[in-house]
Symmetry: C3
Subunit: 190 residues, 3 copies
């Protein structure tokens, strides 16, 4: 009689195991969102070259539509202006705080009827806390308070990172300076 | 005797479990392709600024090689022409259908001996069906009927999307208008 | 008595299974790095247009900061120069070896005080060994011997590839030619 109970127990376990295995399946149709494995809040500071600030500028226009020059942002909400940048990253919103890395990449304004940009850039981090890079791509509807862009890759501490960054404009001064707050949430870490 | 049979049964189960576990392993050398979790077919429409169509244009050349201007595509299969765009996305092939979002990004022609481009752009979708972004990167050998580019990220409904988009040129009119059909297949959804 | 031993054995197995299942969980906080599933070492060759080498050039400057032209690299470590390219890929370091594909994309120099670039490009491979594309994004601190950039996507044989590429400058000749060795390590293959 005891043997039969054991037999029943084993079959029960068979059932439970099968269900558990299914939930662990990597290839299921739709997956539950994993818990974030890393969260970083960083700021970066962009000082756009305007013909007079060569020493301080961290970015410069390098392309613009027909008829525009490269020291004055175009009308039409800067449509077509493309800048490359090498901006300091700080832990707080102070431009003069010790940088923990550089934000390097490009952005361009791509809407005629409102301020909107597209970003492709890499955070190159080199501090005691973080060594490695995170690369981002995505549309940036500047006038929206919080907008999400995609983490598309990473190296070093952020090898093959996956996730998003929530960007907000922390401050700006005309067409010369802006500061972005970047709240990075990674869902895959190695 | 029964007890021994139960013992055998348990060992058999041990074996089966081990095999199942191995197949569920996320870290195996080569994984079976998961089933697609989302499929979208969308069209986007690009009207290139040529100096005369400022009102209708949705894209503009902002860079070109030495000697070229930005209202006429270069010879050499447009080699070196870089455009930024903000194009309407529609569910069918009609430019005047109600847009379900915007395709925002850039492309450039990068071959001297044939028409070929490289694309970096984001679908910003904002309809009752889909809210979120999908970002794409990749080479676009324009004269090939169907060509695949990579989905490199996503936000909102497409958080951390992975997959490919199969692009085909649905129509074009000289150097002023083209319409791309984009068949997006996502293999990872959350 | 035997039946009780079997019972004990089953419970032991229950415990072991639970632990194994947990380690196979795809949604764990931090995952062990999977073993590489593909490794490729390839070279690509970039010949920059300088106004005199139209026939051989495989890349051209298409954007530069105010005041610069597009046949001479800017001072300031080429800050702001943006090039588009269609470069041959070879299996060894010989420019004249039969190409196995094309490296297509763009790079720009983005630091004023040292040589550093940002790359966005695709390896379009079409050989007996490999058919498909791999797309890369990332910062390239040129003067560092080995630097990692991100694999952000892939198609064909490299569908949804994930991993990194370790780049090293294999050779260069002034501002006209450079050759990069690219050691690609993929951790996800389908």
């Amino acid at each position: 009689m005891k043997a039969i109970r054991v037999l029943q127990l084993c079959f029960l376990w068979l059932l439970v195991s099968a269900i558990l295995l299914k939930s662990a399946d990597c290839h299921s149709w739709k997956k539950k969102l994993p818990k974030p494995c890393k969260n970083l809040v960083l700021y970066f500071h962009d000082i756009i070259y305007n013909g007079k600030n060569a020493e301080n500028a961290t970015s410069a226009l390098v392309a613009a539509p027909e008829g525009a020059n490269l020291t004055i942002m175009t009308g039409n909400n800067h449509f077509g202006n493309l800048a490359v940048f090498d901006d300091p990253i700080t832990l707080d919103n102070n431009l003069h705080s010790p940088p923990v890395g550089r934000a390097q990449g490009f952005y361009f304004y791509d809407m005629k009827n409102t301020f909107s940009a597209w970003l492709g850039f890499t955070f190159v981090l080199n501090s005691t806390d973080h060594k490695g890079t995170i690369t981002f791509n995505g549309a940036d509807p500047i006038l929206t308070k919080y907008r999400d862009i995609s983490v598309v890759g990473g190296t070093g501490d952020f090898l093959m990172a996956r996730g998003i960054a929530t960007i907000s404009t922390d401050s700006y001064e005309g067409d010369v300076y802006f500061r972005l707050r970047v709240n990075i949430t990674l869902y895959k870490c190695y």
